[in-house]
Symmetry: C5
Subunit: 96 residues, 5 copies
């Protein structure tokens, strides 16, 4: 699971048929200096996160379990939690 | 799942027998500055994407489900959706 | 499995229902120069680690086995051991 | 699946018992500038690739399916196809 | 599977109960310039490798198969072979 920030939305009309009914979010993984340039992740959002929020992102079985439609789906990545607060080396980051 | 851009095609005559009948695309993952130099991914394309398009790429079970030939196949990676539009920090990117 | 250092805590009220009852820790993977800027990992902690400790982090099935609630859970990552001591090229690092 | 170039061979006498009868190749993943310094991958080769060739490398279930000895094996990575030709942004790369 | 060098040992008294009876090694993945600064991997060693040796490291099912205690274990990573010799672009590296 990664700590990530939701930085955008994504729309895809042409997609595998199981990929219906959930929003796609674009999330940026976070490093300790908050300057990660890692590749962007597309996550399904069954939790209700919004742009600007920090989230927990999971892959594979954990993502499919969160989506709750069994394991024969084309989703590989999902937001599994919305972060209220976190600390990094005694500094606290809280959602507004 | 990754946000990626289709940047090329790939042909392989000599391959595992299940790898028949689907085109291979070369895709470049995207970072927030659009200058990723990550390693290139080879994805099967059951959706019908073309060079220059942005796509959602998935790995493992999600890829195999999208391909729809069961789980005893040699495919590990597939395009699961073609992106119409996405936003990154309020900037919008739309397909032509 | 990765060698990582626990650098923070994380709280998430809104989350998949199986993600209850275990603390989330933020962990920083370690490279040989101890200056890794890799993306931060969120790990469930069924072992009892604390900030400042070095830990072994595992993903997927190994993480779920450590958590011990079966495989239909939304956890993908867990601390599976707390490090007492390690050596890197003959230099020894021991917990206080 | 990754686009990679075979850059070497590897021999290991002392190994898990299922790792018999297939050659190990060392492969270098490729980025768009052909200057990747990613970590080197060890792949089993059931296809018959040689040093200098471009290949498709797969991990996990796709690799095991290609090897064809069931799923209780110690192989995690295999060459699943030998590349004849690929294009990257309209430039064509063909095997000699 | 990765080509890696064993660079240290690791001890963890407090750990998931299945993580008993196998030594933990710290391994450094290798890139083509032998200067990788990738994050360090903790691998179980059922094969008998030592510090300074080059090894093949595998993850997930391949690691568990090598460990040979079924799939309900907390191990995710194992050494599956000890390298006798390898070549990279015609240069040969042999164990002493």
């Amino acid at each position: 699971m990664l700590l990530a920030k939701v930085i955008g939305n994504l729309w895809a009309t042409k997609k595998q048929s199981s990929l219906q009914g959930l929003r796609f979010l674009i999330v940026q993984p976070i490093n300790r200096h908050f300057n990660s340039t890692s590749d962007l992740i597309v996550a399904a959002d069954p939790i209700g996160a919004g742009v600007g929020e920090y989230v927990i992102v999971a892959f594979g079985r954990a993502a499919r379990t969160t989506i709750g439609r069994g394991h024969e789906i084309a989703y590989q990545t999902a937001i599994v939690g919305i972060v209220d607060k976190f600390t990094i080396e005694d500094k606290e980051y809280a959602l507004d």
